[in-house]
């Protein structure tokens, strides 16, 4: 069973969001990395790039496939996890920790409220697999 930490917010595109003040740390969920398989390449934006909620900010690739990654919240990129360039496997090993992808300075922090809770996300992935 995939790990779904309580203290995070989740999107239906299988991203997680951790709120730190007005900054959102974003990555992909344990369920998402498991579905992808071995991550071999991650493409991320640069600091300063701006995105609106639900826009693709990068991509993550396994041997077999490419998946776009979407930001659940709007704002400006404060930092991207450039260590994933050389160690993309961190996304598989530690999706909620070292495998984080971007930190975004939120322009509309209220967007977080419309995301799923851990329990809701678990129900969502169960329903999706049926």
């Amino acid at each position: 069973m995939a790990n779904v930490p309580e203290n995070l917010h989740y999107s239906k595109d299988h991203e997680w969001v951790r709120v730190e003040g007005d900054t959102a740390v974003i990555g992909i969920t344990d369920h998402a990395q498991d579905q992808l398989g071995d991550v071999v390449y991650v493409e991320l934006p640069r600091a300063g790039d701006e995105f609106v909620a639900n826009e693709a900010f990068g991509s993550v690739e396994s041997v077999k496939a490419v998946s776009e990654i979407f930001t659940p919240v709007s704002g400006k990129i404060a930092e991207a996890n450039d260590s994933l360039t050389d160690e993309p496997e961190k996304v598989n090993k530690d999706p909620y920790g070292d495998g984080w992808m971007i930190k975004i300075k939120m322009s509309s922090p209220g967007e977080v409220d419309s995301l799923l809770t851990a329990a809701e996300y678990e129900d969502f992935t169960k329903a999706e697999n049926e």
Partner: protein, 374 residues
């Protein structure tokens, strides 16, 4: 995901794949494992270093018997089936009148009046219709026997040692692209020294009701579970292994729009043998020269080329990627593509349009990977 229109076919190993944590996908109308718990990278590398076990029971088989068996088949395929001896296999292709490819296949000769054609899963019905529609008054018996066989492939440097534990057949005496009939774990089987990974290895054909026994016994004999033991491998590893080995995949490098000569398959195109379908066009193309050619490339930038992406040279869109992927053993991003023949030289810089970003690559010799000589 859209629901498939038809019920998927399953091999006799379907429930075993699920027990082993296989992630099941649709492939050519079949419900097949794309990878198991270990993951594609580990499955691929383990096959190169030790051994991998593949369920290829979805492949189709056509049995041809009778005094005219060789002559009939030789009129349909590009390689020269008359050169086969008993217990030998040959890579070949079914060709259209235009010299393009209906399917690639293996032709096995059991006797001068008995051949077995092993064809791709997704093209089995098409091939059967094509082959049976070309029957005239030859003295042959033609049967689609796809349901009579399971097939498992054991590939890698440890394959011979593992399989030898289960059979009295002298496997080291079986030459590459030859086969024997005998018993594996007491089960009547065809044991063929062939494969689709670029490694030494064997493909074992047997009755479908023995598939689970053969699969489980092979995993046991190969110490499945140990760090250097055999691993079950899914379709994703099968694809990356064949790509590193520079082998064509039907529907990607070859199909009914590509000729054998464009696909570097001149070595299975015997224009001097008696007539076969498409020979005239292939002969003409050989004399006139091909317009485009299949090449291998290595991505030199960051980025991964994928199937169907455009190839650019000097800013012009000149070709298309047929297969593009990370290469787990070589640890490079590689691919194959058709480019105009005037650009098809090794070392040429090309670009791949990776979802709108131009990624630099370079044409390199095929195959990307060649196994070390024993």
């Amino acid at each position: 995901m859209t629901a498939p229109a038809l019920k998927l076919k399953s091999t006799p190993l379907n429930s075993i794949h699920r027990k082993l944590g296989g992630r099941m996908v649709e492939f050519g109308g079949w419900d097949m494992p794309v990878q198991y718990a270990a993951g594609t990278v580990e499955e691929h590398v383990r096959t190169r270093k030790h051994a991998g076990l593949f369920d290829v029971s979805h492949m189709g088989e056509v049995d041809v018997r009778g005094p005219d068996a060789v002559a009939f088949v030789n009129g349909l395929v590009s390689n020269d089936a008359s050169k086969l001896v008993d217990e030998q296999a040959q890579y070949s292709a079914l060709t259209t009148p235009e010299g393009t490819v209906i399917d690639d296949l293996l032709v096995y000769r059991f006797a001068e009046d008995h051949l077995l054609l092993v064809v791709n899963a997704g093209t089995t019905d098409k091939d059967w219709d094509w082959i049976s529609s070309h029957r005239e008054n030859e003295n042959i018996e033609l049967r689609n026997v796809s349901d009579n066989y399971c097939q498992i492939a054991l590939q890698g440097p440890d394959a011979l040692g593992i399989l030898q534990k289960l059979t009295r057949l002298p496997l080291s005496e079986v030459k590459y692209y030859h086969f024997r009939e005998g018993e594996v774990d007491g089960v009547p089987a065809i044991v063929s020294r062939t494969g689709y990974t670029g490694e030494d290895g064997f493909e074992v054909y047997a009755s479908p009701d023995k598939a689970e026994q053969l699969w489980n016994r092979t995993l046991d004999a190969g110490n499945f579970g140990a760090d250097d033991g055999v691993l079950p491998c899914g379709l994703a590893a099968r694809n990356t292994l064949r790509l590193e080995a520079g082998m064509c995949l039907y529907g990607h490098e070859i199909d009914e729009t590509t000729t054998l000569l464009e696909a570097n398959l001149g070595w299975i195109t015997k224009l001097n043998k008696r007539d076969f379908i498409g020979r005239d066009r292939l002969l003409a193309q050989k004399q006139e020269g091909i317009g485009r050619k299949l090449v291998g490339f290595e991505v030199t930038d960051r980025g991964i080329a994928r199937d169907a992406q455009d190839v650019l040279i000097d800013g012009q869109r000149v070709g298309r990627v047929t297969s593009g992927s990370p290469a787990p053993f070589l640890k490079k991003n590689i691919g194959m593509a058709y480019v105009p023949v005037e650009f098809a030289n090794e070392g040429r810089a090309i670009e791949i349009d990776v979802r709108g970003r131009m990624v630099a690559a370079q044409i390199v010799p095929l195959p990307f990977y060649k196994r070390p000589k024993q």
